[in-house]
Subunit: 225 residues, 2 copies
DNA sequence: TATACTTTGTGAAAATAGTAACAAAGTAGG
DNA sequence: CCTACTTTGTTACTATTTTCACAAAGTATA
């Protein structure tokens, strides 16, 4: 990881943020069980993270617990939501209504987030006009118009790899601020715009390595999470 | 990253493997352009990796280049394929034929890999029997029988989070060796079985952080890839 | 063959991330 | 209010990962 984030003179890795998202999901599960106060040791019980790391991750943003007691579940949820920026609703555009795009439009996993996909685009005449999960697929030609209208700052790219860079260039002009990229290419973006790549083929390929070498390799800790 | 892989006394991180997969994809693109020999500096040109890191990643497995010349594209592709275990075909089972599962069955990104999804399972009567992209959705009850028959060692989990752990436990009994998990839960697995988590909701949530803090945070390198 | 240039492979150094240890702060019970 | 116990927040330490620097090996040209 080459990047480093500094906030109020404290520096930390982007992985800290991903773990915060993980903690948040777990805390919501804990809340459902009507637990109101909980220790760091209990919070991380089913996550592959140590209690020390959990506390350290939080410490970059402040002290949210009480010594000798633990953390108030409800309060901590609110705090992490605020850190992540989830308390604000960010409308999201999906670009590429192919198989994966359609699945994401219907995906239950996103529906639990405050932010939702609010519009979708494709260049295929056969797809334009279709309504999936209540969202109409728009012509990619109206991307600029709609993104400005709806003040969209986040985009999900599920377009084919050869089209992805062109789309990103257009999005950059439209002042988009964050991109979740599913296209299997590394995209060039200027400073100040953030991109997160989900590369399913890479994940699967690297998994094959571990399976292939199972017997030949030694691991200090065995779970390759 | 807590894990470490040791092979022939050399130790490296699992990230090395993911990068190898990335290099492989790029090399295939380079091959299409009829380039036969290339330097490390050129290979990484459109990847967010330094030439030194590329060479070091390869060095864990051997010396594949020629000093003063570079790397033979075709040969290097073959070598990386061999390292990753891609030259062997691994049949893959998909468990959970919901929206995401269906998308993965149709997903073009996987079709370029040697390994393919060869069977799919669901517990929903409405889905069982359907044929998606040539693959018939089987009853989850016949999981054990079919996995043994087809000698499947790799599984993709796209089941809902509350069912995922139960499925994993069953897969473990069936001697599965690698799992690609899309369910938003951390799954418990015994030593010797490998799991790779793709957590799309976490990715999106962490992206919101960067967008929210855009102006307030300082990054040593700006791309959050 | 000698010289200038290119590029790999790798050990050493620097940067980063994760772990451990512990003081500080709180609770509980007599 | 004193003692024993709990749990956080943070500093110091350890391990890992990445970058740097350069020798080794090759090419090309005169």
């Amino acid at each position: 990881m080459a990047d480093k984030i500094c906030i109020k003179k404290k520096c930390f890795s982007p992985d800290v943020i991903k773990r915060l998202s993980l903690y948040l999901r777990n805390l919501r599960k804990i809340r459902k069980e009507n637990i109101t106060v909980i220790s760091s040791a209990k919070i991380i019980e089913f996550l592959n993270v140590s209690a020390e790391q959990f506390r350290k991750d939080l410490s970059y943003f402040g002290g949210f617990g009480k010594r000798g007691v633990g953390y108030k579940v409800e309060k901590l949820i609110k705090e992490i939501e605020a850190i992540l920026g989830i308390n604000k609703k960010w409308p999201i555009a999906l670009i590429g209504a192919g198989k994966l795009g359609t699945a994401l439009l219907k995906f239950e996993g996103f529906s639990k987030l405050n932010s939702r996909i609010t519009c979708a685009f494709d260049s295929d005449k056969g797809k334009i006009g279709k309504i999936i999960n209540g969202i109409k697929i728009e012509d990619i030609k109206s991307l600029g118009k709609i993104i400005k209208e709806k003040e969209i700052k986040i985009a999900i790219i599920t377009a084919p790899p050869e089209k992805a860079q062109g789309i990103v260039d257009e999005l950059v002009c439209l002042k988009i601020r964050g991109i979740l990229n599913f296209a299997p290419v590394i995209l060039k973006i200027p400073d100040g715009i953030f991109i997160s790549n989900v590369d399913m083929a890479c994940e699967l390929e690297s998994l094959l390595f571990f399976v292939k070498h199972k017997d030949g390799l030694v691991m200090t800790e065995t779970k390759a999470q």
